[in-house]
Amino acid sequence: MIKLFLILIFSIIIISKTGWDLPICNIETATLAITPRIFAEQTIDGQNQPVLVTRILHNKAGIFAQEAGRCYFNTLDPNFIASSTTLLGLIFWLYFVYRILIGRIWHLTAIFLLLPVLPFFNLASLIVVYTNKLFAIIGLIFLLVKSK
């Protein structure tokens, strides 16, 4: 009964937490970054560098991957998770990640890893915030059930 009460209280706190801020970062911003970055980087490299070296080190695929990585990691930033779930929620969230990895719960791991991709494709960015809240609550349940 106490555990249920704790889950309820913490869930309300986590769900009602507002004030999160996710930077605008998606497929458009990543695409827009390619041309100016290639221009800037090729200008720095200068005329004397072999074209092949420039192409290997500064290419569209690499820059796009870096920008996409930046967008993906924005949603996994501990400060963003803490701002969307509270500091305690972050701890529960980390416990959730620990449990799904240790317990080899692959379907949850797959959801966890694929969800940050949604904002990148402009698909329901808010879903990341609410699934973080959900993961934190599941983490709390894992924690309380474990301490039975």
């Binding site: 720095i44 070296v53 080190l57 870096q66 990585g69 930046r70 990691f73 501990p78 400060n79 803490a82």
Partner: protein, 354 residues
């Protein structure tokens, strides 16, 4: 700080049956304590962490503990004997000037675990990271993830110690601003490498086909090579062109010119945009320390030199030599005497007479 902390740890771990190494370890930690401001927080924290996990071995030395403790106490004397001065840097960058120090501490602490800081962008301060790269290589990411899982699963005393190290490392940096700060959290670096190596080790022990294992290892190795080549290119080719002002490029040329014409001006005012110009003026002008020390309390001016923040306005009569950063262009335009360019050819300072 990092070298002597790690040396101290290694000597300590080898000292369980060799007492002289335990003494050497305390000397190393004592030196580490006096190397950097962050060490005043880091070394005691690290020693507490070592004591917590290895207290059985430490206490087994019995009365022999007294000598290493005495050595450590001696190494604290320069800090204790000079306490107000040793706090100056901490006070100027510390979080306790902020309105909400606890909130600042927590967000600063968490920022050091940001994947973007670690793998994509790095520290925004130009001297602390290579432009276009994170603090760690991308190829380390899967190894670190594997290593973390393996460390947590192993649950031995050593693995718990490494996890504690991982959690403690950003504390000195989080006590100050700005964050994340790669230099103040540099004690992070060895533990990330250890975790990545542990991850590689645990991958080698995976029960998967040798061919698949070799293929994955090859892909990670190729990615590592590509990351390393990119790092060298960015460090040697891009960094000097993009980040030279972060390394105080242009100060030498600017001060040389200013000193040459100083006698013609009543006041010389220099922007502090690129950080602490008084240090460079004193150094490059070879200003006599005996003359400077009586005026050293005020870092905003000495002799005929004054240092200003975001903008400067003339308030007193007389000829003034003004040194502004490249982006500060007053309206109407003053009489420019000299433009100082960095090694990359970019404009850094505009020197004018007003």
């Amino acid at each position: 700080m990092t070298f002597f902390s790690i040396l101290g740890l290694v000597l300590f771990l080898y000292s369980f049956k060799k007492y002289p190494l335990f003494v050497a370890s305390s000397v190393s930690f004592g030196i580490a304590l006096n190397t950097y401001h962050g060490a005043k927080i880091w070394v005691p924290l690290f020693l507490l962490c070592i004591f917590y996990w290895y207290k059985k071995e430490i206490l087994s030395f019995g009365s022999k503990l007294l000598f290493p403790v005495l050595i450590l106490a001696i190494f604290t004397l320069p800090i204790i004997g000079n306490f107000p001065q040793s706090l100056i840097r901490g006070e100027s960058v510390g979080i306790f000037q902020n309105e909400k120090p606890l909130k600042t501490f927590i967000s600063g602490y968490l920022s050091h675990y940001s994947p973007n800081f670690l793998f994509i962008s790095g520290d925004p301060i130009g001297r602390h990271s290579v432009v276009g790269m994170g603090q760690l290589y991308i190829f380390e990411l899967p190894l670190i993830l594997l290593g973390l899982i393996a460390l947590i699963q192993a649950r031995t005393r050593d693995t718990k110690f490494f996890l504690a190290w991982l959690l403690l490392a950003p504390i000195p940096s989080a006590m100050a601003t700005p964050t994340p700060h790669a230099l103040r959290s540099i004690t992070f670096l060895p533990v990330w490498s250890i975790i990545a190596a542990y991850g590689a080790g645990s991958f080698a022990a995976f029960r998967i086909g040798n061919r698949l294992k070799l293929s994955i290892a090859l892909i990670v190795a190729l990615l590592g090579l590509y990351n390393f080549a990119t790092y060298l290119h960015l460090y040697y080719k891009h960094e000097p062109k993009l980040k030279s002002p972060d390394w105080s490029d242009g100060y030498k040329e600017m001060v040389s010119y200013v000193v040459k014409v100083a006698k013609n001006y009543e006041i010389i005012t220099i922007s502090n945009y690129y950080g602490r110009p008084y240090v460079f003026v004193l150094f490059y002008s070879e200003y006599d320390p005996r003359l400077y020390q009586p005026q050293s309390a005020d870092k905003e001016k000495f002799d005929k030199y004054e240092f200003f923040g975001t903008s400067w306005e003339k308030k007193t009569p007389g000829k003034v030599l003004v040194v502004r950063p490249k982006w500060q262009i007053p309206n109407p335009a003053p009489k420019y005497l000299k433009f100082i360019h960095g090694t990359s050819g970019d404009l850094i300072f505009r020197i004018s007479e007003e």
